[in-house]
Structures are given as C-alpha cells and as structure tokens.
Amino acid sequence: MLTEVKKQLKVSLLSVKYGFMREALNKASLFSSIFFMIINNSCMIVQWIVLFSLKDNFGGYSFKEVLLLWGLAASTYGVSRFFFRKSFNLSQTIVSGALDNYIVQPKSVLLSAIISECEPSALGDIIFGYIMYFMYGFKIHTFILFTLFTITGGLMIVAVAVILGSLSFWLTNSDQIADVGNSLVTNFATYPDGIFKGVARMMLYTIIPVGITNFIPARAIISFNPTLLLINIGATILFILTAFAIFYRGLRRYSSSNLMNARV
C-alpha cells in the first residue's frame, strides 16, 4: 500500500514537473503572467484601503486580518490552480473522452487527469498570498499554520471542482454548473465572514466550503484553537474522500468518445 502511494506520488510529481516545463518554455510569458497576477491581486486590496479609511472594522475583521483573509484566499486558489489546473476542466475531459489515456495506465485515473497541467500565473497567487501573510505579521507558528491551511484549502477547492466536474458522468452540459460552483468558492473567499448571516452563512460552511477553507483558518491563525484545526483537516479529508467516491462511481458510466484529441 505504502509502496503504491510512493509510486503514485513519484508519477504525480513528474507530471507537475513536466507540466511546469511546458509553461517554462517561454520564460517571458511565464514571469510576466506571475508578475501581473500579483499586480492584479494587489489592485483588489486598494478597495479595502478605501473602505477601512471610512470604518475600522468590517464583519469583525481589522485591516490586517482582511489582508490575512486575502492571503489565504490567494494562496489556496494558487495551490489548486498550479498543481491541479485540470480539475477545473474535468467536465471537458470526461465529455471529450480524454480519460481513455489515463484509464489504460496503472495509476489513479483521477490524479492523472487533474495533475497533467499547471497554471503558471497561479504561482503569482501563491506569492501574493505569502506577501499578504507577511504584511499581517510573521510568527513561526502562524507561518506553519498558514502553510498547512494553504495546502488543505487548495485540496478542498480541488475536491469541490472534482465533485462538480464529475457531474458530467450523469448530466450533459454540466460544465456550466461546475464553472458557477468553482467561481462561488473563489468569490466569497475574500469577504469577512461576519458580513454573512443566516442561510448564506450556513451555505458557506457546507456546500460552498469557503468557511472551512478560509474563515476557520483565518480565525485559527488570529487566535489558535486546536478544534478549528481539526475541523479544517477533518473536513478536507471528508471532501477529498467524497470527491474520489463520486468520481469513481461516475467512471463506471464513462462512455468515452471518438473525438480527435491531442495532448498539447
């Protein structure tokens, strides 16, 4: 079992390496996409600077805490897009019959399908996330927590993308549902949770798990609480297991396709 995990990890890392090598072919494009992503994210902070000049507190968050929230949102998004870019196009992969190549290989079909491409601009998001964290304030234990939450949050976003993408096994044109769902997870991530009430708040801790990927980690970094850490890790494992279960359940319904395909 452990050997199999090691072998899978080796192939997955090779996939990431080769995916990144493709993007690194054009160095100017690679560096400019990273740079402009950082600039793009920075522009969003300007609106918060303006808002905080009017009021000291939004939804229970100070300016520095909003920066931390932004940092978590950017870094989790970056991890999900850099390592698992294709999880966001899973519907297309399923519908076009591109899973065929992965099914005939003795490795995890799901991991092979979602790791084979990376998005270089997402590195800009990860860098921006850490800049925001440092602006919030560096401490060794919060740095470790921030890194841990970046990984669990990234994996959680990927798990949601896989669940939504896997709907294509049952529904036609479900890529639109997946696109909307994936946008929701990102869009709500940068607002303080105190501004959401009632049903909206409940949704953010369940079907759009921004609460678990961002709000709980932010609270745990601001004031450490082991229960919050356990909730985050437990929920991440639960979402990952659910994503695997739904994908492999759907794979039994996979109908392939004879569309012309190239791995470009």
Binding site: K10, R22, D100, S255, R263, V264
Partner: protein, 325 residues
C-alpha cells in the same frame, strides 16, 4: 493458450434525442427523451498468444466499443471478458501492466517533451526501474529507428515519426498484448509500409499479440492472418485471411486490350465493368463460367494484352459489410 476470451459480450448506450430546432431543444429540457443504442450485441471470440488479429467493420459497427471494453475503458453491460486471465472491469491496474494501447486518433505523448523524456515518463508510470527503462528505450529506438529524433520535441516531429514514438511508448513496459486502433490513420503509403514492417518485426521478436482495428485494407492484409468482421454490433465473419480470400475470391477481373472492337453483353457469369472500344474490363464469376470460357468469348487472337486479377480485398470486405447488414 487464449490471451483474450470474450463470451456473450454486450454494451448499450443511452442516447438523448431531441426534436429539430429551438423548440425541440426547449422541449428536451423539460421532457427529455432517450433511445437505447445497442453498440455490441452478444459477441463471442478468443485470441491466442502471438496472434495478429484484425478486428474490422464499418463506422459505428461496435469495434471501438469492444476494444474499449477489452482495455477497461468501458464497462460491459453483459457478458464475460478475460484478458490475460484478468477481468478488465475489475482488475484495471493489473491489466494495464499486461497490455499496451495505441489509439491513432488520441495522442498520449507530451508534445513539448522529447520522445526520450516521454519514454522515461511512461517508464515511471509502469514502475520500471531506471536502468531497465534505459535499456528498453535503447532497444526499442533501434527497432523502430528513432535514434535520429529521439531528443527532438514531439511537436516538431512528422506524423510518421510521432506514430512510431506512440507505438514505442505503448511498448515500454513489454505488454503481452498490443491494442492498435487505426495505427496508420493519416499516414502516407511509404510511412504506412514502414510502420507495418516494424509492427511485424515486433510481433516476431517479442511474440506480442496484436489486436488491430483499421479501415486500411493494407494494414489488415499485410499484418494479420486472422480477420474478425463486426457489423451492427455482431460478428459477421471470423476466419483466417487465407480462407477469406479463398471463399470470397470467386470473381476475377479480366482487363484486356483488343486489336478490334467486339460486341459483348452481360450474360450469365460475365459482367461488363468497362467497355471503351479497344479496352475492355469484365468480371467473371468462376462458379458459373471458367476463365477459358471468358477468353473464348473475347477471342484470344484478338487480344493484344491481358491482365487477370483478383477482386481487391477492399471490395470483398465492403461486400461483406453490405451483404451482412
């Protein structure tokens, strides 16, 4: 020893249907209609170790669906499959080590990497130790003559070179069975011939069983000793290439250049295919008329040049497709 055993295999797809136009599309949202398409209907066959089998049929006959069920890509609805003693639906990972696949319409190589890096990647996928992969790459690049371009990015290779690399990638783990789906699609005649020679050589050297689908009669005729023809989801013929030719080659084409024009009409056992005065092309059904009878009709003294040939295999197969529909 059978390496592939298929019994009573069936597969049905549920396909959504809709009426014409926007109205039809809107109606389909609220009241979707489906129809069941039986792609494979209870087929049986087996393949022995080292055989080279052509699995052919017209478009939509069910050959790709069958090959995909044999390689774990699709789940069958009914029936039993054993490939190398394994059930493709249950033992996907184990089976992957035993088989190689090459789908002519789907590339599995990373185009920005060189064939060498791609082969190393495939080596890692199949858990092959580094020194063994290196040795295998050397051996296969010699067999498939890849030395000239093994370090060139795949995107810069010609289609023929790329197909050779695709085949090598599917052989890196020494599969016992190689499934080739349209391996020569889009290639020019010289490259096609080259690929066929290499496949033959591979079958001879490694005793790899070849299961091939192709619309190219040249692939079938030059590579395979056995043909399985499927049409409308059923096997309509499973025979050796020799028998196929023997039983179906009961018609000869006589192409003659004449000194003087002759008047000849269709009659029992003789069909005029082309009559351009001095050039005449007739088809002789040798179950009804002998060739010598046909020649007498033409008058041997009147013939300047003559060519007697078999009906092309392509026509024979097309006729089988049509007649067994």
């Amino acid at each position: 020893m059978s390496v592939i055993e298929v019994k009573n295999l069936s597969k049905t797809f549920k396909v959504k249907i809709k009426d014409k136009g926007l109205k039809g599309s809107l109606k389909a949202i609220f009241k979707p209609k489906y129809k069941l398409v039986k792609a494979v209907k209870s087929i049986d066959f087996s393949v022995e170790k080292g055989e080279m089998v052509a699995f052919i049929g017209p478009n939509g006959a069910g050959k790709s669906t069958t090959i995909k069920m044999l390689t774990s890509i699709l789940y069958p609805d009914k029936g039993k499959i054993k490939v190398m003693g394994l059930d493709p639906a249950k033992d996907r990972k184990k089976l992957a080590y035993e088989i190689g696949t090459m789908f002519g319409q789907k590339e599995q190589l990373w185009t920005h990497l060189s064939p060498y890096d791609n082969f190393k990647f495939f080596g890692a996928i199949f858990d092959i130790p580094e020194p063994v992969v290196e040795k295998k790459i050397k051996e296969l690049s010699m067999l498939f003559e890849l030395d000239e371009f093994i370090n060139t990015p795949v995107r810069n290779l010609s289609l023929g070179q790329r197909i050779r690399c695709e085949i090598v990638a599917s052989l890196i783990h020494e599969p016992k069975i190689l499934f080739l789906d349209e391996p020569t699609i889009g290639l020019d005649p010289v490259v096609k011939e080259n690929i066929r020679t290499l496949i033959k050589r591979m079958n001879k050297e490694y005793k790899t069983t070849i299961f091939l689908t192709s619309h190219d009669v040249g692939d079938i005729e030059k590579l395979c000793k056995r043909v399985i023809i499927v049409n409308d989801g059923q096997i309509v013929l499973d025979d050796s290439m020799e028998n196929l030719k023997y039983h179906y080659l009961n018609k000869k084409i006589v192409d003659a250049k004449m000194k003087e024009k002759i008047n000849l009409d269709d009659e029992d056992g003789i069909t005029i295919l082309k009559d351009k005065g001095y050039n005449l092309k007739i088809e002789v059904d040798i179950t009804k008329r002998s060739i010598s009878d046909a020649l007498k009709l033409l008058n041997p003294d009147n013939i300047i040049d003559i060519n007697i040939s078999n009906v092309p295999l392509e026509d024979i197969i097309a006729n089988i497709y049509k007649s067994k529909k």
